[in-house]
Symmetry: D2
Subunit: 460 residues, 4 copies
Amino acid sequence: MNRTLLIKDGTIVTAVDTYVGDIFVENERISMIGTDLQVKADRTIDAKGKYVIPGGIDVHTHMDMPFGGTYSVDDFETGTKAAAFGGTTTIVDFAIQERGSSLRKAWETWMGKAEGKATIDYGFHMIMREYNDSLGREMGDMVKEGVTSFKLFMAYPGVFMLDDASIFRAMQRSGEIGATISMHAENGGVIDVLTQQAIAKGHKAPKWHALTRPARAEAEATYRAICMAEIADVPVYIVHLSAAEALEKVAEARDRGLPVHAETCPQYLFLSYENYEEPGFGGAKYVMSPPLRAKHTQKDLWRGLRNNDLQVVSTDHCPFCMKTDKQLGKDDFSKIPNGAPGVETRMSLLFDGGVVPGNISLNRWVEIASTAPAKIFGMFPRKGTIAPGSDADLVVFDPNQSTHWSAATHHSRADYNPYEGRTTKGMTEIVISRGNIIVEGGKFTGRAGAGKYLRRSPRS
Amino acid sequence: MNRTLLIKDGTIVTAVDTYVGDIFVENERISMIGTDLQVKADRTIDAKGKYVIPGGIDVHTHMDMPFGGTYSVDDFETGTKAAAFGGTTTIVDFAIQERGSSLRKAWETWMGKAEGKATIDYGFHMIMREYNDSLGREMGDMVKEGVTSFKLFMAYPGVFMLDDASIFRAMQRSGEIGATISMHAENGGVIDVLTQQAIAKGHKAPKWHALTRPARAEAEATYRAICMAEIADVPVYIVHLSAAEALEKVAEARDRGLPVHAETCPQYLFLSYENYEEPGFGGAKYVMSPPLRAKHTQKDLWRGLRNNDLQVVSTDHCPFCMKTDKQLGKDDFSKIPNGAPGVETRMSLLFDGGVVPGNISLNRWVEIASTAPAKIFGMFPRKGTIAPGSDADLVVFDPNQSTHWSAATHHSRADYNPYEGRTTKGMTEIVISRGNIIVEGGKFTGRAGAGKYLRRSPRS
Amino acid sequence: MNRTLLIKDGTIVTAVDTYVGDIFVENERISMIGTDLQVKADRTIDAKGKYVIPGGIDVHTHMDMPFGGTYSVDDFETGTKAAAFGGTTTIVDFAIQERGSSLRKAWETWMGKAEGKATIDYGFHMIMREYNDSLGREMGDMVKEGVTSFKLFMAYPGVFMLDDASIFRAMQRSGEIGATISMHAENGGVIDVLTQQAIAKGHKAPKWHALTRPARAEAEATYRAICMAEIADVPVYIVHLSAAEALEKVAEARDRGLPVHAETCPQYLFLSYENYEEPGFGGAKYVMSPPLRAKHTQKDLWRGLRNNDLQVVSTDHCPFCMKTDKQLGKDDFSKIPNGAPGVETRMSLLFDGGVVPGNISLNRWVEIASTAPAKIFGMFPRKGTIAPGSDADLVVFDPNQSTHWSAATHHSRADYNPYEGRTTKGMTEIVISRGNIIVEGGKFTGRAGAGKYLRRSPRS
Amino acid sequence: MNRTLLIKDGTIVTAVDTYVGDIFVENERISMIGTDLQVKADRTIDAKGKYVIPGGIDVHTHMDMPFGGTYSVDDFETGTKAAAFGGTTTIVDFAIQERGSSLRKAWETWMGKAEGKATIDYGFHMIMREYNDSLGREMGDMVKEGVTSFKLFMAYPGVFMLDDASIFRAMQRSGEIGATISMHAENGGVIDVLTQQAIAKGHKAPKWHALTRPARAEAEATYRAICMAEIADVPVYIVHLSAAEALEKVAEARDRGLPVHAETCPQYLFLSYENYEEPGFGGAKYVMSPPLRAKHTQKDLWRGLRNNDLQVVSTDHCPFCMKTDKQLGKDDFSKIPNGAPGVETRMSLLFDGGVVPGNISLNRWVEIASTAPAKIFGMFPRKGTIAPGSDADLVVFDPNQSTHWSAATHHSRADYNPYEGRTTKGMTEIVISRGNIIVEGGKFTGRAGAGKYLRRSPRS
């Protein structure tokens, strides 16, 4: 472990600035930035010609998560290692309340899953499967523990879905305690009917996962969530927005001045419905909810990112193996575990497909991948920027090299990579977590358990 | 009863035409129209200087309806008499399925309520409280009986509300059989929470009925209904649209080319939230759902009627007495029976407040009050126009006289009139149902039981 | 000439009604309509199984019009004959004021062109090339002569284009006298620059006519016209709307409640940019302004017609010959006379491409092709409907036959037909102008000079 | 002059960051930022409890400008002093081309006006009164001189207004050279007619300035400018946007992904139409174009600033004296010189009325007042941020003190202050221009002529 670290001559990029300079790190934090710092350090990195950016923040991961009879295949060790290799130094994962059980129990369970394993800092959102007065009180307790966001589902009836009255009450409660409601916005009732009808008609291939989850069902739920939040007079955050029709609802709400936020994910920016038509059972790799959408949606999502109608790109990293887990739905698309790996590829895809072709600026890349999630979820300015006093979570990114993606070389336990064979411009060269180099020269130099739990702040 | 009838020199107004001419009626139907018909008739009416219009069609009434422990106070005799006095010659009322019971039983019950009593022709929509395969089959049977529209509720959880999956299945079914789904579009879950919270805080006055049913909750449900109908690829008809925010959703859908229809009611065009603040318990007169809205909404609704974003004005006539029924909610607004009388005042209010000040044209008056409901609900061209072959349902309306409105003189059993003391320009002078004069000179000249059941057609 | 005429058993279609009946005509007008008229007539037509509709009204034709050094090839005789064969019994053509000259002189010139030649009734709009106080006074005089609409151009700088100040003053004046301003809405300045630049770069083929007139330039001018009309507090009528982007502006204005009207033309509904890429100089056939647009625009225009954002379909009939006139632009697209024949094909195309595939209803066909133009331009109810007292301008249309279109058989003098080789379902069998049969069995039975000048009414 | 400067313990605020730290300045630039810099400096400022922000950038001023027979009363000395006192360290003023003359001549004239007088750094936009090929070539020359933006007028016919063809050609040219077109967007033709009509009717009071410049005329021109820029495929920047209707057009364009930018001004955020109704000739103080709008517009503009539909707040500082210049319009509002002082009050008003009540965040204050104008107009990162390497243009702002505004104490030569008597929370304590303290303790410590000309960069 380095006590002091000096990064020289890098092109320092934040959500607003781009300049050449030196960064000096002491006691895990950035203590100085300057044009030519005259200072000694235990370790000096020459970043000339490279970008130095705040470490990525992925606010939507599911490590070690039970789902449909199996578990997502990355635990907090393999998952955070994969994150680190991809230039992400903070994740916010989801603890899941069991129906009839307490929030604290869920939080403790997930704290246990992460402890001793996480290689980077981590926080938790809390998934609630129901709402009642007692759980409402516990929401206040959780905020004190640093869990300042609660995720609700409008889909998966019988599993995760809450009715509107419960959602509305949870929203009201979030307003009282300065918490944020994150919403999975798809109309579960409609989707359930379509799914059953498809199965009944013998439509069992993976693509039917998409064909039974129409974009309009996402737009509907998105607008419903926004309306309920407006009536409750609280902010709302839409997770993994995938459909142009849903984006339109978010954009309208923001035009009206409502505090509505939304994230999309790389899979919606870089993959599309066509992937479901890969030969055989190949489409199962992309079974996630919401599903991949029509290709033309991609340009709408990029426009949303440019216009700030979308503020964040997270991954919904929830990896399963094709050879085992995904086989559960071999004969019935509705039994395919929902999810795919993504935590490692996010930053690179956004650079290669966003910055390089000019879809977004270099500063906007940093903003959507690090600064904005830090601000929205109560981690700023400790995380999400390069400024004196902030945690020294830094990435040295070489725009002139490139990276090849494959399940053979990625660091998730998933046995496939949705971007198999793709080469992206740019390379994550050095990754620093609170001043410690945890990835360098393609090697992991960190330590399981070095990651700390992040107590996130409520909205002020 | 007249075998033949000649109406001379009237200004005949349809949804498109305005011209001076004569109408000859034989066998209950219009057989000839001309500029100067040379024909003998059993009875000749001189309509010089007066409008002759198709009889009004009110597609939203609740006669003899059980609600909250009481019944709407008009049965099919007093209710249809009131209609007739107001120039309405057809109503479509609602049969109500009991949970666990059949549609046929409901239909037969309501057929029994009307038989021998109705003074004008009538049809039925069917209210469904639930959906399952058996009820789906029965929907097809009902269409054969002339019940071609089914009303569902997104409000009143535990009483009328269906979940989205049920609504969606009913919509799909309606597409198969050419039926129309009519929707009460308010988010019942949110409203229920707000209502309970208001009561808990001691907010019990009638105005809290409105304050717990926000316009945005209507907009939300309206958009949800539209989305589900779009996914099911069927038309949808929004009943008693009251909020500008909901109208916006209908307008957007129609701009996108979707087959979405909507009605508003006179109470939303002529009354407003201020009425709830009448002294004492006076606001209870206006307790109906959706509630009266902010006054500025009225101009939006008129614009919607002009632009054809709203196609129909019905009444939601559901009268209760202030001295008895409404007292059930004396100490708790949520127990006030929802509804008010309106079947008699509709045509006059629309003329006085619509045509006279230029909010709508004379032709549009006929269209929204008669032609459009006839077309949308499968009664055209038998009803809703003045053309050879159509039923001789006609009104002679004198634009140069005026009408004074009061509970003392109206024909509903309701003990109050929401428009008490108002004088409207224009007077319904003669009302003709299938060639028979049923109102003339302020006297009822028809007969209980003369009204016939209308078998309505499905969409083709 | 028949003194009385009886049309038996036809399916009579108006903008609102569809019913089987008989029509009796006396003294050029409809005197009776009935289900089974017992009356003797000089001539009886059996219309069983056929539609009887109001004669078409084409409010946008240019007969005998000087343009770019030549004249449109149809005079009022050949042009109105072509109209008649196509089921159109009224045209409104354009008189053109010369700069520095009077409106009256223009009107008298065009009255002279029509007199003794027109075979059907006709009116005139007045094209103004400039505005000043004296012309403003003359606008009032023209209204008294039945010229109640004035067309202005935002395109063709140096030829027809007025500056915004002049347009605005003409609009204000139209408000004082109840006249309507019709607007050619394209940004002439931008188009002129693009045209000169294209020519300078050697882009001279016909398709460059379209490539130098972007849809956005039409949207811009459309919105500008609407804004100026809104400030002047007067209605405005957009002629030959072709672009989806312009339609959006009209739709928004109408949603805001503004009295904005617009027409489109069959060429924009049935042809598209691809036509400009016909081999050789073939694209010249379609050189008109605005130009044909991208194919996907067609569905937007149909939706506009369904939604009533577009109220009228006219033709902009302005025929030139390919062998002569169009050759003027052989080496320079900007010298190709703008225009194409269309007056004969309109009604058939709208039936075949509108009614048959369900884009519009039978009633809407009548409305956009006859009723609405009659109402908007002060000819209703004399023209545009089938009602007692209206002119007996009627068409017997057989939906079960079909029509083949070709320059070899059409009745315009144009040496080509934009729809060459197309067969449309339906056939215009008999055409009646004020009670006189002018087309029957494919023969012209009318008379040059039988058409009368129509004094149109101002808005009331 | 200080060679080195240390600002200790301030709360450093940029467009994205807020943190406590020290800033070290050498050679006019920021060389180091840190949490506790151990460094010696010629001067140390204790900024504890105070904000340290980038100096304000006002990209819309008119110093020493001829207008309507007089000159704006501030020259580059008094004007930039006023700016400095208000925390603004950079202005971009407007050189004005004379019709028939060259751009270079205009630029040299304005360079001469500023030289030896300006106390802070300054750049120039170029106002063009016409467009031709020669001027187009000169635009390229000007870019090389650092004039990378060109302002055009759609208003003031005969004085500044260009026709659409000229505007469009200038836009095309701007695309070739990476320059930005700034647009005064009001429909000059319509306004001219309304003005003349008002004068003719004897409406001569100052308020008629507003009544003859309708919001819709601004919306029209805004949309026209956007359309022309879209066709030319270039960005466009709308200056001094004042109307909600115009903002809507900008927002729509940005939602479509177009590179459209817009600024508003404090007068539109803090004053309104009511000011024109001040007694006597008092309204003349606010005669500027566009005029002050209806009060409810303010909330739309704030929402636009929050949503980033508006990116910049500039002042349009163009001061005249009430006792002299404004008297030119005593009897005719159209002769009142257009303009008002504002350069000194901008930053304070935005803090007091924006940040304090929560309309915008602290970071957004810095962004709209400094960072965004620097980025849009080619001055970033030299100006507009606090980062190593940037010019040390800094303001120490004390949020706990307050400022009283009055013509008696402000530093413009204007004899009135539009915000007379207003007290704003916050005080501009120390102002630093390139490392030199130019305002401290309410005293000017800078020097006329110390300001340098800024060669701005073209878009890359």
